[in-house]
Symmetry: C2
Amino acid sequence: MPVDPSAEIEITAFAWVPDFAKGLVRDLRVRWALEEIGLPYRVRLLHGERPPEYYLEQPFGQVPAYRDPEVQLFESGAILIHLGLKDERLLPTAIEPRMRGIAWLISALNSVEPMFFELINIDIFNKGQAWTEERRPQVLDRIRARLALLAEALGDRDWFEGRFSIGNLMMATVLRNLRHTDLVAEQPRLAAFLERSQQRPAFQRALADQLEVFKQHQPEGAAA
Amino acid sequence: MPVDPSAEIEITAFAWVPDFAKGLVRDLRVRWALEEIGLPYRVRLLHGERPPEYYLEQPFGQVPAYRDPEVQLFESGAILIHLGLKDERLLPTAIEPRMRGIAWLISALNSVEPMFFELINIDIFNKGQAWTEERRPQVLDRIRARLALLAEALGDRDWFEGRFSIGNLMMATVLRNLRHTDLVAEQPRLAAFLERSQQRPAFQRALADQLEVFKQHQPEGAAA
């Protein structure tokens, strides 16, 4: 099992988060990639408020921050590219499929996830505010149109570009952000892609390890 | 001058866009990078509705799509990484500064730009709708907090990580999306960074070439 307190690779993660975020926090992406290639890593937990010095590692105070003997990094997308460039199980070595794997990762982060951020702001962080009632249907329309194009691009293949990669890994974790809706289920190809992704043993180990931390640090009296 | 109809590298661009988008369309990022390294490119223009076959090149119908003798690519972020991995003027070759340059590019696309998308939806695409009045101050607060952290990360240096790179190029083009506001001016370090970026001759050539296309394809009767 890759989680190993003596490992050279270190990632940061939150000790606990509320239910809506459990299984979505972005260290999951890096845990999953490391599980795919069997690289051990240790986890440094952040409890509550981030200390000021954490911003030197992660400019926005987010998780994960990452370090190995070669690099100190932030942004899950950059960490996945770093791991992908070192292991062809995560990213092909030939230049065209390599760069197209990276293109799908960037698509996930900039052409797909930002629309989901807006929905999550409406459904979770600003739930019940008057403005959300007028805005929500517009955001749903935009997301539906984008997901239809994404399903078309996947086509009948199991994976974007025909093989598993950091691009597919990133897209799957981005689609998971819609789990409180039926939006992915409305696109059977995407629903099958997400299911296929989540059935990978590496994903399941990564998810179990993230959730186990939250269970161990459950505050007294907080909702499970 | 890199624009050359017989060049091997091809990018796509829009023949014309309304004023609010002039100088912001994303082919600017790739034009700028190509100008920095003196690589000639040709431009294939898209007029009005995208034809269905364009989605095979760019899954969401956006610009730019890119091709050279090695790869066909989409997503400006991926194209910049492709160019950066080939030329150290755009990205250092040593692994740590290389990966940190990529980290700033990813930050720009996923931790900074998505908040700006929300403001642009409010100020431009949905201007005047009732919901925007309640939402706008919240979005401004979030952007201000994020820009304060970004200015802190830049510190007193001219460039993120101390030298020009695709990470800096991407961050500058992302900050340009706020040009209809004073938000960047409120952070003098970021304002100086953006000014420094925009004074680069390569940026100025790229911008002039994008704008020239729009001028040539100005529809009769449309606002200039």
